[in-house]
């Protein structure tokens, strides 16, 4: 199980958004994609799951060209959890998870016991089985993300793409969701906003700036005050996490005395 981006470039409406992105996510690794708003994180992820087409480069899954596969086959290997989703329609949580079975089903085929078992197991593993019959739209942001992860599990994919999965969540769910994802043992590529959190969970991170990879490597080497000033244009202090030694960001004010 591995996911590899090889010289990926993407144009949107005639403009180059990301250029020459090469990232390797090894078997069972959790790799973070960092960078300021608009630096191209989502564009890269959306190219992997076929919302955008690359202008150049390839996406390789275990060495095979992912974008050349049939969409259904690709969806059986790569599942996506994006930011909080809103549905116009009133599905229950269990129905949302069942939607994850789509790439495994033919036209007209009914839900089998196997599908129902996959849904139940996925929800139990994520710990959201008590939400099964609740209306998805009544769930909190954190609960919705749990259900989305269960949906990705029911999809049966061994690769997971996460696009800022902890946005808008409280600290308990931020930690809980990332712990859960790590515990799944999948091969994960995640766009993350919170650099300290990324440092805590990712084995490797890549810092994007203006659609290019500025630096990549272990969090301790990438997340430095200088790199963050260059990429984000923000001044921060970086200290060591007292327990893990991973970099931890402390924001600074430009004028500390200002009222």
């Amino acid at each position: 199980m591995s996911l590899q981006l090889d010289g990926l470039s993407v144009d949107l409406t005639g403009r180059r958004i990301v250029t020459d992105i090469s990232i390797t996510v090894g078997d069972g690794q959790f790799v973070g994609l960092l960078g300021p708003n608009g630096s191209g994180k989502s564009t890269i992820l959306k190219t992997i799951y076929r919302v955008h087409r690359p202008a150049a480069g390839r996406v390789l899954l275990d060495g095979a060209d992912l974008l050349a596969m049939r969409p259904r086959d690709a969806a059986r290997r790569v599942a996506v959890v994006a930011q909080e989703t809103v549905s116009e329609f009133d599905f229950t949580a269990a129905e949302i998870v069942m939607i994850g079975r789509t790439p495994h089903k033919q036209a007209f085929s009914r839900d089998t016991d196997e599908d129902r078992r996959a849904v139940t197991e996925a929800m139990e593993r994520v710990g959201c089985e008590h939400l099964a019959h609740r209306s998805f739209n009544t769930l909190s942001g954190g609960e919705k993300q749990l259900v989305q992860i269960a949906r990705a599990l029911a999809q049966g994919a061994d690769h997971l793409i996460l696009d800022e999965p902890t946005n808008h969540l409280d600290i308990r769910y931020q930690l809980g969701i990332l712990e859960l994802v790590v515990s799944l043992g999948a091969t994960v590529l995640a766009a993350l906003h919170d650099l300290s959190l990324a440092a805590l969970f990712c084995q490797t991170v890549h810092l994007l700036a203006d659609g290019r990879i500025a630096t990549g490597g272990p969090p301790g080497a990438v997340i430095t005050p200088a790199a963050i000033r260059t990429a984000y244009g923000a001044d921060v202090l970086v200290i060591e996490h007292p327990e893990t030694g991973t970099p931890h960001l402390i924001p600074r004010r430009i004028q500390p005395e200002a009222q």
Binding site: M1, K46, Y49, R50, V51, R70, P71, R72, D73, A74, A75, R76, V78, A79, V80, T85, V86, S87, E88, F89, D90, F91, T92, E95, I99, G100, R101, T102, K105, A107, F108, A118, A122, R125, V126, G127, H130, H133, R134, S135, N137, T138, L139, S140, G141, G142, E143, L153, Q155, G156, D158, I161, D170, G176, E179, L180, S183, L184, G185, A186
Partner: protein
């Protein structure tokens, strides 16, 4: 290899998650008071830290955050869906009853037994040439069947358009079909276009108008990044307004007598129903339903959004194009045989979703039966309540549909478009 197999229970998250589970249990003793509180209040109360709890909130891991989202009991209640066969059987029975009533009731009343007798005689090859036989077979049955087919077609088109643009307020005529058809039909009625086609002139005129409108909406929407919902809605609304102004102009220039018939057509009617109008809408309905039932899961995925659908291995562009043509076809053939019958395509899908949930593999078949029953009942009322005159269908559908939906909305927490 799936990660489901090679990892047992997730070890890490449960360390955090029991908080959620215990939170559920802890709150159940006072569940009764919560249930009594109106949802908004209950939610507000939960959003605040609970002052009642004496427990010192200093050790974070032991105590769940007070914001632990436990939505109001009323909204969070278990949603049990009735088994599909039961709902289908009930709707089929409803359709049968409304159809028998639709054929039996009118200026000459016939008992259900008499109606069934005529129909069975006809089907077994013994035409019944009594007055009752002619009323049933030549006049009322084709009319009732046409109403059923159009009701089913408009409901299906409504479901499809609502998913296509991910907007619960959409209806089948959003895509410009009806306004284009109106221009065509008005031209026929006022200017005598296609006069050589006789009774088919209006149908041909409206189909041509619908095709032109559809092509324009499709062409304009497609020029951007595929059939994006916002573009579709905007193009549909803007072009509808343009076509309607053409219709208005034609009415303005036309003679007052003909204007009356245009107005009647615009509000819809089954007054001109005949057997030979049935095959085309019926075939269109069967073909589109076969396609849609095959795509039930894809429709569910698309209801989540284009990007989640793409991530599930669905060719979203292709699906949207097919849905656009399916909805336009159904709306177009409906308009051609019965005029512009509003409200059914908007309201019946909502009623059906309230009954069976949003899973399209349930909504579509139930919608066909329910939409057909709704329209047959509507047509029955249209020709009986102000007999011997006929009420336009559009008046009836809105008049029954709106209160029905309002009652259902009040009775169940209804969540279209709500984010809380």
């Amino acid at each position: 290899m799936r990660q489901d197999d090679d990892h047992a229970a997730s070890p890490a998250f449960p360390a955090v998650l029991p908080v959620a589970v215990s939170g559920v249990r802890a709150s159940s003793p006072d569940g009764a008071t919560e249930a009594a509180a109106p949802p908004a209040q209950a939610k507000a109360a939960q959003a605040k830290p609970e002052p009642a709890k004496p427990e010192p909130a200093k050790s974070a891991p032991a105590k769940p955050e007070p914001v632990k989202p436990e939505p109001p009991r009323a909204a969070g209640r278990r949603r049990d869906r009735a088994p599909l066969p039961v709902v289908m059987a009930a709707c089929a029975a409803l359709l049968l009853v409304t159809m028998v009533a639709g054929v039996g009731l009118g200026s000459v009343g016939l008992s259900p037994a008499a109606v069934l007798h005529v129909v069975s005689e006809q089907l077994s090859g013994h035409p019944d040439n009594t007055v009752a036989g002619i009323i049933v077979w030549q006049i009322r049955l084709p009319r009732v069947l046409l109403a059923a087919v159009v009701g089913a077609a408009l409901t299906t088109a409504g479901v499809v358009v609502q998913v296509l643009v991910r907007n619960a307020l959409a209806d089948p005529f959003l895509l410009g079909v009806s306004s284009g058809a109106s221009v065509g039909a008005t031209a026929v009625l006022l200017l005598g276009a296609f006069a050589s086609l006789g009774v088919w002139a209006i149908s041909v005129g409206s189909v041509l108008g619908a095709l032109v409108a559809m092509a324009v909406v499709f062409g304009v929407s497609l020029s951007g990044r595929g059939l994006a919902p916002t573009q579709l809605i905007l193009c549909g609304v803007v072009l509808s307004a343009m076509f309607e102004s053409v219709t208005s102009f034609l009415i303005f220039r036309g003679n007052p007598q003909a204007t009356q018939s245009v107005l009647f057509w615009l509000l819809g009617s089954f007054g001109l129903a005949s057997w030979n109008q049935l095959p085309i809408p019926a075939l269109a309905l069967v073909a589109v339903m076969a396609y849609l039932l095959a795509q039930g899961r894809s429709l569910n995925a698309l209801a989540m959004g284009a990007e989640p659908a793409a991530a599930l291995g669905i060719d979203v562009q292709q699906l949207r194009r097919n849905l656009f043509f399916a909805a336009s076809l159904l709306a177009g053939v409906s308009v051609a045989v019965s005029g512009v019958i509003g409200f059914v395509g908007l309201v019946v899908p909502h009623i059906v979703r309230l009954i069976v949930g949003s899973d399209h593999r349930r909504v579509l078949p139930v919608g066909v039966l329910f939409g057909a029953s709704f329209m047959v009942l509507g047509d029955l009322l249209a020709r009986t309540i102000v007999a011997p005159q006929e009420m336009p269908m559009g008046v009836i559908t809105a008049f029954i549909g709106a209160p029905t939906l309002l009652i259902l909305i009040r009775r169940r927490p209804y969540l279209y478009g709500a984010t809380q």
